[in-house]
Symmetry: C2
Subunit: 312 residues, 2 copies
């Protein structure tokens, strides 16, 4: 406790107290509330007025734009969907980069190409703004409880400013070195595995259904055998329940496996499984399932009858 | 304890006491010793005289052939490599099927095509011999400690004879119904996932090495994230150690993913990821790595430098 106070004082009390969150989606909303619980003054902006109002009701400070937010915060966490949105909220017309003071810190947590994260570090550095390349993993529930996993890289000065913010957001912060891009590379590789494993879970369950195996028994055996994966265990229950309400959508993996393949393609590196899995997610999206839960990738398999949705 | 004695008596004391094990490989040897520990009289045969001699030294009863073994046992566990060997030890010139008495039980534990297991049940049934379709999972260590996972199917009479034998071999026995083939189908689907996950682990680590990510840090992050799989966690340490001493070899997955694809092909069912992973294992085998640990599938990726073997 004493140690934590000492650390805060070193970083400057006014600096570590006023934190901005750009993007109040499933992840950003959880992070913003975790920061409020930790005692920070939390400023936020989001394109949806009703979301922003709910956050104000919970004790947050709503901002009309990233520019307004940037003028009031020394640390800004960006939790938007992709690189294009990250670029827009920083360098767009009402972007935060124009109002953030030199010495401020940006924690960029969208899943982005590693090369984008590297360039972002240079572009912010030209304005004297620090960057932590800091993608997150763990889903909305862990964002809400302040227990996300973070895959981070950046200079020591950035970590010095970020320490208590990261502690409030995250159950586990991996520090992957000084170089921007290292955090995003590890996140990309996690998405490679996550995407392939979801598609493999779908392929395995599809073969089971084709062969007339009892689907519930198959799930029980596999989750206790060497064929198990985090994604098999987590996603197959959606298939068994016939419930494709999106927690994370098919189109997220169209995007993320696309990023994986773009990253490898830049150095002409082959990824046969990622490419096959990406095609499966695109088949599912083209067939109209892009907004459904990513486990709906099983719908690309013809000639099987999926478990029906149970009555509520 | 009382209950167990009662059960044994029901099955007939002479029947549950003399058990045969055909094949003293990594799995069969462990099973034979587990059965010895449980107090059974264990008869065994194997093509390698020195292996058989070691088993005799440990208290087992060596047999010169499956036929000799069949004449002395009421329950026979077959732990050979594949369907062809299973067929040979039962129906070959010195096969056990000719000497097993009506009412005897065969526990067939090799990974075989589900259709082979179904046909085996019919062929043994014509001689009045019972079959349990009972593939195993868990590796040599768990075979040795009597804690394998078994994926079983067969008629109730077969289970009645098998109960105490299965209890001695296995930590977890899944009962998947009366129909032969159901156990083998679930095992095949487990191998689908295991093979795809090993190839995906290799692909992910290969991209990490290509991108200059610290391989040890990558392993640490992934094993604590949604990208994890049982196989990633178990096999990537071999890559990090540069040690491809085979625990299970590349050629096992050339065979097992081949079985997976044959099973699906019989009903013209597509398996895009299994097909891509099978090609990767065949590329590794053709390049001369078929006898190495299955994690050596990472050697199909060009343009990366793998961790070197650490000095002993």
């Amino acid at each position: 406790m004493e140690e934590q106070r000492a650390r805060r004082a070193t970083a400057g009390d006014y600096m570590s107290r006023s934190i901005g969150v750009i993007g109040l989606g499933a992840m950003g909303n959880g992070v913003a509330h975790s920061l409020l619980r930790a005692g920070f003054k939390v400023h936020a902006c989001d394109l949806r007025p009703e979301v922003l109002q709910r956050f104000a009701d919970a004790g947050g400070i709503p901002c009309a734009s990233p520019a307004e937010l940037g003028g009031q915060c020394e640390v800004v966490v960006i939790l938007v969907v992709n690189a294009a949105q990250t670029d827009a909220v920083l360098f767009g017309e009402q972007g935060a980069a124009g109002t953030l003071r030199p010495g401020a810190l940006v924690i960029a947590s969208a899943t982005v190409p590693p090369a984008f994260a590297q360039a972002l570090g240079r572009r912010l550095g030209e304005r004297g703004i620090l960057l932590l390349d800091a993608p997150v993993s763990g889903g909305a529930a862990r964002a809400a409880s302040g227990e996300m996993t973070m895959m981070t890289s950046g200079p020591a000065e950035a970590y010095a400013l970020a320490e208590d913010v990261l502690a409030a957001m995250s159950g586990k912060v991996y520090r992957l070195g000084d170089a921007h891009g290292a955090g995003s590379k590890v996140k990309i590789i996690n998405q490679l595995l996550a995407g392939v494993h979801i598609a493999a879970a779908a392929e395995a369950m599809a073969l089971g259904l084709r062969e007339g195996v009892d689907a519930e028994a198959l799930y029980e055996v596999i989750t206790n055998s060497a064929g198990n994966s985090w994604m098999f265990e987590n996603r197959v229950p959606h298939i068994l329940a016939g419930d494709y309400t999106p927690l994370s959508a098919v189109d997220i993996f169209v995007k993320d496996l696309g990023l994986v393949l773009d990253t490898a393609r830049a150095s002409k590196f082959p990824l046969p499984l990622s490419a096959a899995a990406h095609q499966m997610f695109m088949m599912a999206s083209s067939a109209g399932h892009g907004g459904e839960d990513d486990s709906a990738v099983i719908k690309v398999f013809p000639g099987i009858e999926l478990p029906a949705k149970k009555a509520d």
